[in-house]
């Protein structure tokens, strides 16, 4: 159970995740077999990715990327389309090995959704000042979201995150500076964790990728972001109160409904 969400803003791209790992080999009691884990992995200084699906597949993918960036760092300093394609090649290599290692036929693995079936990857990076955001799936499908919507989410919480994004998009905090974008992405992931507590878990983790490089936002800073989101919510409540119909008008309307117009 995972949520990886990424959002482009005016100066770069952010990627965030929940931190709940679940152990499926001990039965279906996922809640009892949950543990905190890191779900985001940096590659070089300008690219961070996360994966939904099996942790083992993510670990082997991380090892493949670490090996590749150490050997061929130039692969990650090209045009966006080339970097995307290169990432797909690495993912493909790992998935093919995983499929080859299956002890059951592929059609059965697909039916049972045995990993790597259903594994998803979300990459967020910046290249020549241009932020990019790309999803690669286990079957090789690849979709870019950076230049279009500028937001995407994968994992069991992905749909909830896309819905929450739609609900917050009108605030336009993803169109401005990083401070607002951090708050918006935090609020999305936080809302999904709170509404889907059985599958996702705290703490929220977040990386920012800007022209100067990538950085994981430290925990104390995330607390400040959470407090800012709390203020944002508080101001929303106040805003609604400010436009609410005054009580005396409500009372007058209620009284009017009880009067029969024929008697007037």
């Amino acid at each position: 159970m995972t949520l990886i969400a990424s959002m482009v803003f005016s100066g770069g791209v952010l990627i965030a995740a929940d931190s709940k790992g679940t152990e499926s080999s001990t039965g279906d009691l996922l809640q009892d077999r949950a543990y905190p884990m890191e779900k985001l992995y940096p590659i070089g200084g300008f690219l961070v990715w996360g994966s939904s699906g099996a942790e083992g597949v993510a670990q082997r993918t991380a090892a493949a990327f670490a090996n590749d960036v150490g050997t061929y760092p130039g692969n990650y300093q090209r045009l966006v389309a080339e970097i995307e394609e290169h990432c797909r090649t690495i993912v493909k290599g790992v998935i093919q090995k995983e499929l080859a290692a299956l002890t059951i036929p592929l059609h059965l693995a697909m039916q049972l959704r045995t990993p790597p079936v259903g594994q998803g990857f979300l990459f967020a990076g910046i290249c020549g000042g241009t932020p990019w955001l790309t999803e690669i799936l286990w079957d090789g499908q690849m979709s870019s979201y950076g230049a279009g919507r500028g937001f995407h989410a994968i994992g069991s919480g992905g749909l909830a995150a896309l819905t929450t994004y739609s609900l917050l998009e009108h605030h336009g905090m993803n169109k401005g500076p990083i401070e607002g974008a951090r708050c918006m992405l935090y609020r999305i992931v936080d809302a999904c964790i709170r509404s889907n507590a059985a599958g996702l878990g705290y703490p929220v983790r977040m990386w920012e990728i800007v022209p100067g490089g990538s950085r994981q936002i430290p925990e104390d800073e995330l607390t400040a972001i959470s407090d800012t989101v709390g203020l944002w919510e508080s101001e929303e409540r106040e805003c609604l109160k400010a436009v609410a119909v005054p009580a005396q008008i409500n009372a007058a309307a209620a009284l009017a409904e009880t009067v029969d117009p024929q008697t007037l």
Binding site: M173, P177, E179, G180, R182, C183, P218, D220, E221, T223, A224, I225, S226, D227, T228, V229, G230, L231, W232, E233, S234, E235, E238
Partner: protein, 138 residues
Amino acid sequence: MTRRDVLLGLVAAGEAVDPIRIMKGVFLFSQDPRVPDKLKYGFVPYSYGPCSFDVYGDLNHLVASGLIRRISGDSRWPTYAVTAKGRQSALEALTQEQHLAPKILRARKYVDARSFSTLLRDIYAKFPEYATKSVFKS
């Protein structure tokens, strides 16, 4: 007396208080030029105005030490209230630096008397250099 004692004193100076008001109270205290530097937190402009990330760590430390307690409520953030042990500790610390007690009380009174939006607006007006990264801008 340490910075943590200032934080403890601010929490002890009233009823349970939210982290926004704690942050702004400590900020106002730190802006007083007569307060020794060793008792001041370093603030940076952040998404809700002046912020010192060290305050969060020290709040956690005070909770772990049993000097304050964290109260979870309906809202996103908890509130913090002083414990009996914390009140005693705050009194002992302030006895050493009695001239600071009124400054802490003044800061606490200032933040308690304002709604969030008024508090931010007043602090931004007084210290605009700390409002540069705020997400709450007109």
